[in-house]
């Protein structure tokens, strides 16, 4: 994949698009309220630049130093909890030698060039690339500002620049001279931006690799952080959409008469997504929708049960699929094997269920539009809005705001939650702000799930207990097919996201086939935190424990003996084993399980401790996690992402499943689609492998490892294999 391919795929506004940098007023607002760019208070939509812009130092698109001595770091990526704002701010603060207390953050406007993710070539974040692609860029941005501040101070005081020292946001000169960044900002702005900067030697880092408090803790724990749903404007309407109960159905006819009688319901409109209802407040928008009578045309809808879909997938497990990896001669290996072990796995649809259901705010007046949303792929969302509204890129302003979670849900190739807001605004035709909200029911029933997968794994052991053959067949929907990402992700009929974590199995096996059947279904699917690894890590790592047992070898030893030239896998595996007390006896009915997996270029091993109850239920009590993510820019954020990733994966593994009956989703809220709760959260210890390698992802890699680690602990305790997910489908009791 190349950047230019991606730009072409998205048919993006090209480089001549100039998006204005944030105005000083916007920056000051951020500084004052700790809020995001684009925040406009109730009763005030338009923002006008204020005087005083000249007082600010804006050496590049990534930071602004104001005369009030604040440093505002412009965050090019959505922060949905993963800590993008804190991480990018840390990079700037480090090279600037700023005091962390003077750091503010604001989200960048949509700009596919200035704010591109260098891993994608367009603006957006995903695949745990946020920090990695910004690591040098944001450091260089901070270093450039620092050089300009020093140059201006040197001129002001008539001393050589080399005599000046910068410490915690203060420039110290010889003979008692000194100034804050804010005092020098206006002068420094007159300096030319250095073409080349020298970055710090990592041994001199003051923040990177150490600690840097989150920039959003206070606003988020006091309820002042502003999410999409919190945007309110004078005259704003709230919209809900009655969507078809079956995916692919369309409106045949509708009767809005009862809904229109509800007080505060303003308008009912047909839109491509279904029937939209606009009201003066959220309650009327929710209640009014219940009164809509819609007849749906199900002729093109998906009408199968998930059980039937899975049965079809399982039939394909008997047939060869497209080759994702082919080493040696698997058939020959199985003929001479001492032992052959087979296991079939089934994985359900999973909803992301972020705490903030999908939402989008739009103001459209026929010739321009402003959009506020937790946009994860800004370039895609912005481009989609321009297309639907028929506006030029410069006429559409996209404001990225804090998102109440995503886990992949807000990184949407079809930009559907922006598109529907545009469709409603266009259909309504009045220049009032409209907030489109999804209820939790809309979210759970709304599709864009982690696909259902069926797996078959057959492995051969030789007489010494070495892996001699490995045959892995996977069946499931393609996430990328039919999206603008297809050309980039699908190669030779293989959707890379379907086989990631399987085709790159780290273990040395001389004969290996990995095959894929891509099936069609009418249910929209999407990447879900750690994507292909969500199922491939479980199938492969659970299989490794099944094989270790057959070989009569300790699971850690068994893995180590097959990890050739995989030093980073080995290091995290050994670290997790050591810190967990692997091999040290546990209390009765408590068992350990281990798993190791690479995803998004980071390496994670986990040891889970599980306490078995007499009734076949269990509790995960402790998880020891080791990660190698290259240099850990903020070790505490890395730990938080591991904790969160473990909880997210554990909840889904224990009880997550979306099922369809006759095409209709059977779950609707957190009662039917259960998620992890406080009482189920294990104690977690995170150990980070010291590294000076470039930073890699942390948002996703913690998630896929927990499920096999827990399954392996249960397997150690009971001999019961975890082949059908979620785990609450079976009891874990020893057959003995």
């Amino acid at each position: 994949m190349t950047k230019s391919t991606l730009s072409n795929i998205f048919a993006l506004p090209q480089a001549n698009l100039e998006v204005e940098p944030p105005t000083r007023r916007a920056v000051l607002k951020i500084a004052g309220a700790g809020l995001v760019l684009g925040f406009a208070p109730l009763h005030a939509l338009s923002t006008t630049p204020e005087a005083g812009t000249a007082a600010a130092l804006k050496p590049n698109p990534f930071l602004v130093i104001s005369s009030d001595n604040t440093v505002t770091v412009i965050i090019k990526h959505l922060d949905k909890g993963q800590g993008a704002a804190t991480g990018l701010a840390t990079l700037v603060a480090e090279e600037l030698d700023a005091d962390w207390a003077q750091i503010r953050t604001g989200f960048a406007p949509s700009d596919p060039v200035k704010y591109a993710n260098s891993a994608f070539g367009v603006q957006g974040v995903g695949g745990s690339t946020g920090l990695a692609n910004s690591y040098l860029q944001y450091r260089e941005a901070g270093a450039a500002a620092r050089a300009m501040l020093i140059a201006s101070a040197a001129k002001l005081w008539g001393v050589p620049a080399t005599e000046l020292r910068v410490e915690k946001g203060f420039i110290n000169g010889a003979s008692g001279k000194g100034a804050t960044f804010g005092e020098l900002a206006a002068l420094a702005a007159k300096e030319s931006v250095p073409a080349k900067v020298t970055l710090k030697d990592p041994k001199n880092f003051i923040y990177i690799g150490k600690s840097f408090p989150r920039v959003d803790s206070k606003a988020k724990s006091t309820g002042t952080a502003k999410f999409t749903i919190d945007h309110q404007f004078e005259g704003m309407l709230v919209a809900t959409i009655a969507r078809p109960p079956r995916f692919g159905a369309t409106v045949k006819s509708f009767d809005a008469s009862a809904a229109e009688k509800i007080k505060d319901v303003v308008k009912v409109l047909q839109v491509p997504q279904g029937i939209a209802l606009l009201a003066n407040n959220t309650w009327a928008a929710i209640k009014g929708r219940e009164e809509l009578k819609v007849i749906w045309d199900d002729s093109k809808a998906e009408k199968r049960d998930t059980a039937a879909m899975l049965a079809e997938y399982k039939q394909l497990l008997d047939k060869p699929g497209a080759a994702a990896r082919k080493d040696g001669d698997v058939d020959a290996a199985f003929k001479t094997a001492a032992k052959t072990i087979e296991a079939d796995f089934e994985f359900p649809y999973l909803a992301h269920a972020p705490m903030e259901p999908m939402d989008c705010v739009i103001r459209y007046d026929g010739s321009s539009a402003e959009i506020w949303t937790g946009s994860q792929l800004q370039t895609v969302d912005h481009g989609a809005a321009c297309r639907v509204l028929g506006l030029k890129p410069e006429a559409v302003q996209l404001h990225t705001v804090w998102a109440g979670g995503s886990f992949g849900r807000r990184a949407i190739a079809d930009a559907h939650y922006v598109v529907e807001a545009c469709d409603i605004a266009k259909a309504y035709g009045k220049p009032v702000p409209i907030k489109v909200i999804w209820t939790r029911e809309d979210d759970i029933k709304g599709g864009y799930y982690r696909p259902i997968y069926a797996h078959r794994l057959v492995a051969a052991l030789d007489a010494k207990g070495n892996l001699a053959g490995w045959h892995h067949r996977i069946v499931g929907q393609s996430i990328a097919a039919g999206t603008p990402f297809e050309a980039m992700i699908v190669k030779n009929g293989i959707d890379g996201t379907s086989v990631e974590g399987a085709a790159n199995l780290p273990y040395a096996v001389p004969n290996m086939n990995v095959e894929l059947h891509t099936v069609q279904a009418g249910v929209p699917v999407l990447w879900w935190r750690s994507v292909g690894s969500t199922h491939n890590a479980h199938a492969t790592e659970h299989m490794m424990d099944i094989l270790a047992k057959e070989a009569g070898i300790d699971p850690v030893e068994f893995r180590l003996s097959h990890l050739k030239d995989k030093p980073r896998h080995v290091a995290v595996l050994k670290l997790a084993a050591e810190k967990s007390g692997w091999g040290i006896p546990l209390p009765p009915n408590t068992f350990r399980g281990v798993a190791v997996h690479e995803s998004f270029s980071s390496y994670v091993a986990q040891v889970a401790e599980v306490e078995l109850k007499d009734d076949g239920s269990f509790k995960v009590t402790r998880v020891v996690c080791a990660i190698d993510c290259g240099l850990a820019v903020n070790p505490d954020v890395v730990a938080a992402q591991m904790e969160g990733g473990i909880g997210y994966g554990l909840g889904a593994g224990l009880k997550g499943a979306i099922t369809l009956k006759g095409g209709a989703v059977e779950q609707s809220n957190f009662d039917g689609y259960e998620v992890l709760r406080m009482s189920e959260m294990p104690k977690i210890e995170v150990h980070i492998v010291p590294s000076s390698a470039p930073p890699t992802g942390v948002g996703e890699p913690g998630t896929p490892v927990i499920l096999p680690a827990v399954a392996n602990a249960l397997f150690a305790g009971t001999g019961v294999r975890t082949l059908q997910l979620p785990m609450n489908k079976q009891k874990y009791k020893s057959a003995v």
Partner: protein, 153 residues
């Protein structure tokens, strides 16, 4: 018919649908958006507020039933316990996406007000109704213990 609600010590009048859940009265009518919508069914705790110190799901109480109650929202949360909770939340950098956190902070404040030294089991019981999809549970538990220690003096 106007309904008078006492929110954070201030009486405010609401003239809309008396069946409107308190959640939407607070958010849409009084413009207090700290209380979050997560499920609308009393299943997630994102909309937790206090009625005379006791936690309530604002999505499950109608405006009419909230009349006459002493309502405290995240915006009005104050006092020694709330302060200790906020401090602990910041010290441990509990938040990730942050959307559920106003509800978590309100629930934790109610817990510590009623039980100055909660055990892990007490925390499980009091906080199980507050979902966090970022799974910050681990740090919420630690922060509650820290806040309890602070209050112990």
């Amino acid at each position: 018919m106007a309904i008078t609600l006492t929110v954070n010590g201030t009486a405010q009048t609401f003239e809309g649908d008396p069946e409107m859940p308190l959640l939407w009265v607070l958010r849409d009518q009084f413009h207090m958006t700290g209380t979050k919508f997560g499920c609308g069914a009393g299943l997630c705790g994102a909309c937790t507020v206090l009625f005379a110190g006791s936690p309530q799901r604002a999505c499950q109480v109608t405006a009419k039933d909230a009349a006459g109650k002493e309502i405290t929202t995240i915006e009005g949360l104050s006092g020694k316990v709330a302060e200790a909770v906020h401090k602990a939340w910041i010290a441990h950098d509990v938040v990730q996406c942050g959307y559920c956190q106003p509800g978590q902070v309100v629930s934790a404040t109610a817990l510590l007000t009623a039980n100055a030294k909660p055990s892990d089991a007490d925390i499980d019981a009091a906080m199980d109704g507050n979902i966090c999809r970022c799974s910050t549970y681990h740090r919420i538990r630690t922060a509650i213990h820290t806040a309890a220690k602070t209050l112990e003096g």
